[in-house]
Symmetry: C4
Subunit: 253 residues, 4 copies
Amino acid sequence: MIKTTIIRSKKPRLKDPILIEGLPGVGHVGKLVAEHMVAELGAKKIMEIFSPHFPPQVIVEDDGTVRLVSNELYAYKTKGKHDLLILVGDHQSTSNEGHYELCGVFLDIVEEFKVKRVYALGGYGVGQLVETDTVLGAANNIELVRELKEFGVEFRANEPGGGIVGASGLMLGLGALRGIEAACLMGVTSGYLVDPKSAQAVLKVLCKILEIDVDMAALEERAAEMEKIVAKLREMEEGKTPVTSDEDLRYIG
Amino acid sequence: MIKTTIIRSKKPRLKDPILIEGLPGVGHVGKLVAEHMVAELGAKKIMEIFSPHFPPQVIVEDDGTVRLVSNELYAYKTKGKHDLLILVGDHQSTSNEGHYELCGVFLDIVEEFKVKRVYALGGYGVGQLVETDTVLGAANNIELVRELKEFGVEFRANEPGGGIVGASGLMLGLGALRGIEAACLMGVTSGYLVDPKSAQAVLKVLCKILEIDVDMAALEERAAEMEKIVAKLREMEEGKTPVTSDEDLRYIG
Amino acid sequence: MIKTTIIRSKKPRLKDPILIEGLPGVGHVGKLVAEHMVAELGAKKIMEIFSPHFPPQVIVEDDGTVRLVSNELYAYKTKGKHDLLILVGDHQSTSNEGHYELCGVFLDIVEEFKVKRVYALGGYGVGQLVETDTVLGAANNIELVRELKEFGVEFRANEPGGGIVGASGLMLGLGALRGIEAACLMGVTSGYLVDPKSAQAVLKVLCKILEIDVDMAALEERAAEMEKIVAKLREMEEGKTPVTSDEDLRYIG
Amino acid sequence: MIKTTIIRSKKPRLKDPILIEGLPGVGHVGKLVAEHMVAELGAKKIMEIFSPHFPPQVIVEDDGTVRLVSNELYAYKTKGKHDLLILVGDHQSTSNEGHYELCGVFLDIVEEFKVKRVYALGGYGVGQLVETDTVLGAANNIELVRELKEFGVEFRANEPGGGIVGASGLMLGLGALRGIEAACLMGVTSGYLVDPKSAQAVLKVLCKILEIDVDMAALEERAAEMEKIVAKLREMEEGKTPVTSDEDLRYIG
């Protein structure tokens, strides 16, 4: 395999679809949201994307079978104005050049389905344990910025300071070059731990925007579990050092 | 040399061949097994594979001559139902993209010889010195999982946790995309030392599966030697520290 | 996006243009000078260059919109003999091979506009805090060396000792292969900090060479601010250690 | 520049030429020998090889001009049976794949000039300061091994243990695939310092093999200077620690 390869199931007819991108990244926030949506909505897998820019790796399933690491596209027909396409996956590209190539492939799909709006989901790592449901935004046109502010998405001048790196960033940046509207929704998170709580915050905003309902019980459960883990980590740290700061947990996860 | 290049000897006619892949990896378990089979069975070299994805390196032989690092394919005609193709080599690809390209080349060979079953051999590093003859399995279809369980191969949910990386993983993953049955047999090993004992365990299972006999004396000898080395390492460690744990040998090898 | 891509505005007619290259590098000296010129002169953007050799990243603007990292070409019509093309950007290539490819693209532009002279701007890091307005030069033909000496540019045998690396170096080296005259002007700087003072020195020399006037107030302001920062750093260091050397600030910035 | 590019002067007619490769490597032994030969024999430059696999770098000359890093081919007409081609350069490839590509280019040149014998020069780093004029050999056919033993070249089973890496190794390995006779002559050296003494040893053997005379005065001078440096290093080390071992100089150079 020398080029990125797509294996397609039957192509569904979709009504003015919106694409949600939730590949792995900071705090796995985007991945958690997108995979949760796929599971709760019962979205149908319509494409598998394999690429030499992914690690040379298979994942072992519970039954002893394996599957090659991939990105996957799911489709979901809503009762509203827009059907959904949801892009999830095991990995992002392992090389810079691969990011550009893969994102080009994703945008070809966007054009194929006449998607006019993309939401790229991710996390915004602030470097310390936080408990917040802030969702930071960025978009590739100013109208979209205004629109998202109505939904409580925060926009801060020059934040994230380091820009947005990887698939989410390129969906916006390369998307703009093709005239595709795209926004990034970033849950504020520590950046050290998988963060289902931040994922909940992002999902809530996204549901409002998309005018859909998604059961959050599973995500709440995972968030509750994670809170217990964090609490234990804090206790452990307190046992060691009389004064505890959030920074003590920096290298966990 | 810009592309992977194959130099072929005369192409043998093979009876429903099975391909054994034993390239270098964890504990060199797969390499030990496959090279041992080539030597004991007297398999014939039929292909040399050179690639810019291998290190830019020649190996110096005993007589002062050199040979370019390569992967090699050997053929062996059995008296049973299936002849054998055995893939061995000095190195795997040095880059991610190269792994995908090379594995594509291997699978082209698999298709050329109408191979329908591939056994990819490897080691499963558990991070401490172990004495076990456990062989862990993974396969690219569920029937094959069931079949291998009959031969004592163990399948554990989500193990190896990090998936299977490199040529062995891709033989299964990319093989599945081409409809080629493939299984991975992994000898449980520390991951710190070359492990002929674990190789013996894998070879025993493989011989049962293939219904062939392979003399194991040479491998037993190497295993015995290695055990002496390990014993000495343990003694040395015991001299230093009153309490010895397996972990003390972690960084040897 | 698999190849470097240029998006062009209407192509201006330019009078015997000179190209100024000021991409990010040591002390960001070249970038500061070139961006300052673009701002002060009101040069017009005529090209955006996107490339898979840049990081996969968008930059978030003050208003919450993003833009894909790029290099940009600006044009400025002077009243003198030569109009100006100014090349600025967020990043240089992230790979060696990418540097060669991108510099080939830049030189294609140079040939397209019949540019006969290129000034590549940069910093020369000396490894300690310095206060100097020395501008070191290098050029791809000896006539140009002589000419630049008249403007006070210093040439030192075998300096920079490590050669000139990146876009500036290649503009001279690859330019020579195409018969394009090119010189590098390097402001002497520590290499640890962004250095607007060194940028001022380079800009002064460049203005003399180009026979143009550029208001330096903004750059002077930044230099003054930076001097305060450096002064504070020195004080902090003095508080810690009785004897202070410039080397104490080595790892800042 | 996307591909390796050759700039040629007029092609000389050469009598059964032998190619000497002396690119930078361990102790710069090969480079010292080849550059010394070019200078002493007054060989003529006939090709410049530029490549995106070299660093993106220009070298600054004494007069302030620059030149792009390159490999260069020189020709020298002897009075004997074989004229000489000498390959020298600033750098080897920075990537594995680039080594394979560049060596392919070198072997195309070998075939173009109907060269039937290649001597690849290098150093063999033993990890401690040594004073020896041992020249270790390796060759891509057994006849050549026998022939070189007559000239005092040493061949040791499986040495160098790590094989021969880079251009020298590939000249032998890839050369064999094209039916080109090639041998590697490696001066035994510490591997920590540029070693003109080891270069002298290699040059002496090479002169005998080629039946040519090369004045060694310049190389002797450099060797004498280097010996003084080494002696000082030893003294410095002795001042510090009562017992000195060669290992103390390990990280110098």
